[in-house]
Point group: C2
Chain length 326, copies 2
């Protein structure tokens, strides 16, 4: 079933109970981070519909009052077996909410509690369009939800963006190949790397920080919002500490530019990943913000493969996950 | 004017335009962090009213569609002169929203664009009740807003909690004095300290990380949500890296307990700040979650004074703020 049809079915069902009132995006870690743009989209563009992105375990322990039959809960788990997220979906069903599940693993435990299930393109699906990227599928769900409830003037522009994003990402991945190798050589012995971002794509910085540097490379990290940087974090800036800064295309680009100006003056070791330079600007300005995250995440894939190789630390190595119970 | 009366005036004014629909908490850095519990409260307890906490500069550059005459914007700046927050208040007024300003500096530029202004207790106000703490004033605003719109069953319990919190915090500050000295001696030479928390008080961990460790002590840091810890960040855990973990009282305590169990097994250097042990449990369970942040932040004041002293690095030292333009 297409996303458009799933959302139509959800909105139709909600008519009987007074209409869709709340969307929850519920997941853990990288999957929660992948919801960032979708939640941001609804919080910025909707005027009545509520939206929140919540960690699955927090959602289960502190279930919100608005989790009822007027809610849509979108859950995501790559393996479909994250226990907290399965519980969250179960709770959502029990409360009468509609549930859309995103998982890469058909028939996984998560799907038992979902009304509708969709998958997404993963790194290894070479032929599949980046329009079906893990961070874009939830945006498409959010865009459909808004269009079918309050209406969304940017809908045509968004659909047009979906047609363009695959070519943009593929080109950008080629474009960064050499600089990814240089980055890997330069920073392979660092003990800490900060990531920076803003706006709808801050989630890409969050994922890069917690899933790549901390989880897969055991490098200390934190994601810093470029609007927050000047209100605390910037005091740790010096000529040694490394930053990976993503320059978004769209309405919050000025925040990123301000942070970069500061880095140019007071830092010496920073890597810039610039959505404008990487060709995102051919997407209409009214919706371009919501495509940044997919571009950044997919470009980071190239950086991360090179980084793991240079460090002789494969991205698949863990010391706790899959090894100890917790 | 009392908070209750301000909110009454706002809600009354909104009746003419269809009723209050959206609350925005807008600030930067520590002031944004101080809004965490208030925004969390509305997102968890309200069913129709929308709420969001947004960095001021992001708010100005990507003004949400729902920023209109049906919105209430609560802004906060200690000095009342944070340029991004002043601009945010100005924009809010221009869009027809009601604006409540929180500032410690009467007559500051921020107040020009506020319909109502309130201050709060600061560290140096020894005689003032902790019920007027910077993180609790916005919760009180949020509680009043909910009571006067949708209704809030926990209202009496919350008012009762306000009566108890001052005694609890004062006692807790005494209780941690010695362990704060031990913490300072133990961690004074560390180059990185992680903070951990969850639920309504995650903001306290965020502030401790960006305003104390990074800004005031130039120590690398990141705040880790205890529900997210197991989905990435926990892989950096070893017997050397230090963690400051806050154990909240209330509905998400189990998340913190799970993280602490893991630390006990695989880490060796961690400090526990436990709201239950510090006496927060005398506040009713229906509202206790919303008092954690004030307790943690005020207890951290004791830790931070000792830490700065042990490191011979006063909390007031900066290398960029007040010194260079940015």
């Amino acid at each position: 079933m297409e996303i458009k049809e799933m959302v139509e079915a959800v909105c139709e069902a909600k008519k009987e109970v007074g209409g869709l009132r709340q969307v929850y995006f519920v997941a853990c870690g990288g999957s929660l981070g992948a919801f960032y743009s979708a939640n941001y989209f609804l919080q910025r563009e909707a005027v009545g519909l509520r939206s929140a992105a919540v960690n699955s375990n927090e959602f289960v322990h502190e279930a919100p009052s608005a989790l009822d039959e007027r809610a849509l809960v979108v859950v995501c788990s790559h393996g479909g077996d994250t226990p907290e997220t399965v519980k969250a979906a179960e709770l959502a069903k029990k409360r009468g909410a509609s549930v859309i599940g995103m998982t890469y693993t058909p028939g996984s435990p998560l799907t038992e509690f979902c009304d509708y299930v969709t998958d997404y393109k993963f790194r290894t699906d070479l032929d599949r369009s980046f329009a079906e990227d893990k961070a874009l599928v939830p945006v498409t769900i959010a865009v459909e939800v808004l269009r079918q409830t309050e209406g969304f003037a940017g809908y045509e522009a968004y659909v047009d963006g979906l047609k363009k994003i695959d070519g943009i990402v593929r080109h950008a991945q080629e474009q960064v190949k050499e600089r990814a190798l240089r980055f890997a050589e330069t920073y392979k012995d660092d003990k800490i790397i900060y990531t920076m971002g803003s706006g709808a794509s801050y989630g890409a910085a969050y994922i890069q920080s917690i899933c790549i540097y901390m989880e897969m490379q055991w490098v200390n990290s934190s994601s810093i919002h470029t609007g927050e940087y000047f209100h605390g974090p910037f005091e740790i800036t010096d000529r040694n500490v490394p930053f990976l800064i993503q320059m978004s295309e769209g309405r919050t680009r000025e925040l990123d530019e301000r942070a970069l100006r500061f880095l140019k003056k007071y830092a010496a070791r920073y890597e810039v990943v610039d959505a404008k330079e990487l060709g995102l600007s051919t997407i209409d300005a009214s919706v371009v913000d919501y495509f940044n995250q997919t571009l950044f995440t997919c470009v980071y894939d190239i950086y991360n493969a090179a980084f793991a190789e240079a460090r002789k630390h494969p991205l698949s190595v863990r010391r706790y996950m899959w090894k100890v119970s917790y």
